[in-house]
């Protein structure tokens, strides 16, 4: 037992959490005692004796779990543990439950964890739909309802979509660029372990007096600055999720820039790598803004500062400016990695080079640049500077152009190809093109100020959100999970169940979210627990489709679990793809490669006689190195 407490791991992690938490609690009590304040401050925005431990306990867990051991020894110049790779790789399922520095293990840890949160968030969505199936109160009262959609959205965004992409990229990106691992393996592990903590904080808010945070995922001040304790859990959870994704983004950028295999020039990188490069640029520069603004809210709540208190010289609208300066880029953080996945899947299953490779990469960069200049399109009716509306409208609409380039280039890729639709991944990729186009177009409508004035904060927005996030991001996530499932697990999934899941999800998505446009334009506001009679039938229909959508996800769950356990063994390259991760075994060797492969051409040279992307170790050097790539030349 004592030994267990000395060793990094769950026991020591638990101990650390308890110790740090207790310390924080004691600290607050002590400080309040000596400054003879009432020991427990339980005005709803306060609770320092809970908030402070809620900050420290997670840190204590990380420390105890072993995230900092190496660094601490290094910092004080003590002899660091000689790198025996004991923290690297997985030989049994247990290795997935410890501090592990192998990017492949971390990738799987990410995907599994985030999907857990997806199902929790989805369950909450089911409750939302149950409540909204009919006018009047069904299962919960209004205050609880606000908590439902707030937590639903926060779980889906901060601990599902954003990190699941980080997880998939974690697994495949180093392999794709021919790197043995990420640039900072320990930092990588730390970023992962911060994630469940964020999720737990979000969910734990249900235990807080006053219930879960219920100011929406946008947490607008001053509603959030006056909200019950649960809101503080949101403020803190966002910090952990944010720190996690910033650290991962740094890791990706450094890995991509400094660890590409010989011959892997920027113009020879698979588009998934380009996509994560762009995404990481967004994360590194935008995420600090939400960290900052949530700190301000926390200060306003706990320390009674006046950032958003108009009565005391604060400014209410400033919250929205700072929030959206992150949260608009965030929506592309939730889309660009998906674009990368779609490029891989489509070109592989159409057996054809990506159409206009260079323009595809440049379009990504274009979206990155533009998305810093459009945040105020979320504030057209918010009473901000009215002169800002038209410029922001123009930039907003212009984003349709680079995005359109990607849509059309994917379509162009299909032409004169040999399209295979046996893989569920390809089905999701093709469906994504259509569904996302709808979501994008409704976005463009929202970008037009006069239309937005009418439909802002109605169900039209909810429809847009889900067409882009579910029909967009989540479809690409499914495509990615199916596509790399053989690589990650070494087994094939069941295509029949895959198709059931696909059709269920496609029909479910359209059936659920298309009618939302209509009720929205017709006058149904969002974030309401109750609504006018006239919308009753539509909402019933929506709920029915939503439940079907949910049921379809259960098929997916079953397929993944059973196939992982019992699926037929997968060979190295079941899809006959070119990129490097497919040239190694499934699952890949523990250190990815015996020696780093040599890249001699573009990643999508299907049908080009004699073309080759990479020369793997062991293969004869029959292909001269540095052979000119024809990628992008048009």
């Amino acid at each position: 037992m004592v030994a267990a407490l000395k060793r990094p791991g769950w026991w020591r992690g638990l101990l650390g959490a308890v110790a740090f938490g207790a310390f924080g609690f004691g600290l607050v009590i002590a400080l309040r005692a000596i400054s003879d304040l009432p020991i427990y401050q339980t005005e709803q925005t306060g609770y320092p004796h809970i908030v402070v431990p809620a900050v420290l306990a997670p840190l204590g867990f990380l420390a105890g779990f072993g995230c900092f051991d190496y660094w601490l020894r290094w910092a004080v110049g003590a002899p660091t543990i000689p790198e025996d790779h004991s923290q690297h790789g997985a030989t049994s399922w247990k290795d997935y439950f410890r501090f592990n520095t192998d990017h492949k293990v971390i990738g799987i840890q990410y995907v599994v964890t985030t999907f857990f949160f997806f199902f929790v968030g989805g369950l909450l969505a089911m409750l939302i739909r149950a409540e909204l199936a009919q006018p009047g109160a069904q299962i919960v009262e209004a205050s609880t309802f606000n908590g439902l959609f707030s937590t639903h959205a926060v779980l889906m965004i901060f601990v599902f979509v954003i990190p699941v992409f980080a997880g998939l990229a974690n697994y495949v990106l180093p392999l794709m660029i021919g790197a043995p691992d990420m640039a900072f393996p320990r930092l990588n592990a730390l970023s992962f372990w911060m994630l469940p903590l964020a999720g737990i904080l979000f969910i734990a808010s249900y235990l807080a007096p006053g219930g879960a945070f219920d100011a929406g995922w946008t947490g607008y001040a001053p509603l959030s600055t006056g909200a019950p304790l649960g809101q503080s859990f949101f403020n803190l959870g966002v910090q952990f999720a944010g720190a996690s994704s910033i650290a991962t983004a740094l890791n990706f950028l450094v890995t991509i820039i400094t660890m590409r295999a010989p011959g892997m020039t920027f113009w020879r990188m698979p588009l998934l790598v380009w996509a994560n490069l762009s995404t990481s640029l967004l994360v590194v520069a935008a995420t600090p803004f939400i960290a900052g603004v949530q700190f301000m809210v926390l200060f306003d709540r706990a320390l009674h500062t006046n950032f958003f208190d108009a009565a005391a010289g604060g400014d209410v609208v400033s919250y929205q400016h700072i929030f959206w300066f992150y949260s608009h880029p965030a929506v592309y953080i939730m889309m660009l990695p998906g674009f990368g996945i779609i490029s891989e899947v489509i070109s592989t299953h159409a057996r054809k080079p990506i159409f206009g490779y260079r323009l595809m990469a440049l379009a990504l960069i274009g979206i990155v640049v533009l998305s810093y200049s459009v945040w105020a399109h979320h504030m057209f009716v918010a009473g901000m500077f009215s002169w800002l509306r038209v410029p922001m409208m123009i930039t907003t609409l212009l984003i349709a152009v680079p995005t359109g380039i990607k849509i059309f280039s994917w379509l162009g890729t299909l032409y004169f190809g040999k399209i295979h639709t046996y893989s569920t991944a390809m089905l999701f990729a093709l469906a994504f093109i259509v569904t996302f186009t709808i979501g994008g177009i409704s976005g463009v409508m929202l970008g037009m100020v006069p239309i937005d004035i009418h439909v802002s904060d109605t169900y039209f927005i909810v429809a847009h959100i889900h067409f882009v996030l579910f029909g967009g991001s989540v479809f690409t996530i499914f495509a990615g999970v199916y596509h790399w499932f053989p690589k990650m697990t070494g087994r094939m999934y069941d295509e029949k169940l895959g198709r059931v899941h696909f059709w269920g999800t496609l029909v479910g998505t359209w059936g659920t979210f298309v009618p939302m446009h209509w009720v929205g334009m017709d006058g149904m506001p969002r974030r309401v627990a109750d609504y006018a009679e006239q919308f009753g039938n539509w909402n019933l229909l929506i709920s029915v489709f939503a439940f079907m959508l949910g049921a379809a996800q259960l098929v997916f769950l079953y397929n993944m679990i059973v196939s992982w356990r019992f699926g037929p063994k997968a060979e190295g390259n079941p899809w006959r793809a070119n990129s490097i991760e497919w040239q190694v075994s499934s699952p890949p060797p523990i250190f990815n490669f015996d020696e780093i492969p040599r890249v001699v051409g573009g990643p999508y040279e299907f049908g080009v006689p004699g073309a080759k992307h990479a020369i793997m170790p062991g293969e004869g050097a029959e292909v001269p190195a540095g052979e000119k790539s024809v990628v992008g030349s048009t």
């Binding site: 910092a75 004080v76 900072f184 400014d315 300066f325």
Partner: protein
């Protein structure tokens, strides 16, 4: 392919480590990493500067700093000088280790550490006597959060310097570029902290 498959099947861990990664950039990972980290740090300050802009320019209170508060511009000025000079001492430390002068390295690090600590001390002292709190108007809130955020960065910087100093006294670090990253990286961060202070000082105290 074959070789790869052979290496598959886990457990070979102890037999061989990973292959050396190919270095596709002249810059080393640590330096690039800290520079990118600084980018996001700048944006974190950016969030608070944005708030400063709203509270001062958009809300536009009758006077700034609002009556009767005033800021100890002079004291803070001296403090600025102290922090800026610490940039030179850390630079000296780096130069020394490059030239293999270990004594100079230690001297430089210790001097920097002391200057940084003095800065923090004076700042805390300033808080104690400044006469308004973070609860006094938007002004108080943004003043304390900007200077406090920077103070926190000085603190982190001091941590890193402490580590570097301990290791220096334990005889670590050498002239070769790879052998004194442990000084160079904290150094870059420290320079950032200094420059950030100059911006904070000019915005909050002088403008």
């Amino acid at each position: 392919m074959e070789s790869a498959t052979v290496a598959a099947g886990h457990g070979h861990a102890d037999h061989h480590g990973p292959p050396e990664a190919h270095e596709s950039s002249r810059m080393d990972r640590q330096t690039l990493g800290i520079l990118l980290f600084i980018v996001s740090e700048v944006m974190l300050f950016g969030a608070f500067f944005a708030s400063y802009f709203f509270l001062r320019v958009v809300v536009d209170p009758p006077s700034w700093p609002p009556e009767p508060y005033e800021l100890p511009v002079a004291v803070a000025g001296i403090n600025t000088a102290i922090l800026v000079s610490s940039s030179f001492t850390i630079h000296y430390a780096l130069e020394s280790v490059r030239r293999g002068n270990h004594a100079g390295l230690k001297l430089g690090l210790v001097a920097t550490w002391l200057l940084g600590a003095t800065f923090l001390f004076i700042q805390v002292n300033e808080y104690a006597h400044i006469g308004f709190s973070a609860r006094d108007l938007g002004f108080g809130s943004i003043f304390y959060s900007l200077t406090g955020l920077h103070g926190a960065h000085v603190f982190v910087g001091l941590m890193l310097l402490t580590f570097a100093t301990i290791r220096a006294f334990r005889g670590h670090f050498g002239p070769a570029a790879k052998d004194h990253l442990g000084v160079e990286v904290p150094g870059i961060y420290w320079h950032f902290v200094d420059i950030m202070w100059i911006i904070v000082y000019v915005t909050v105290y002088i403008l």
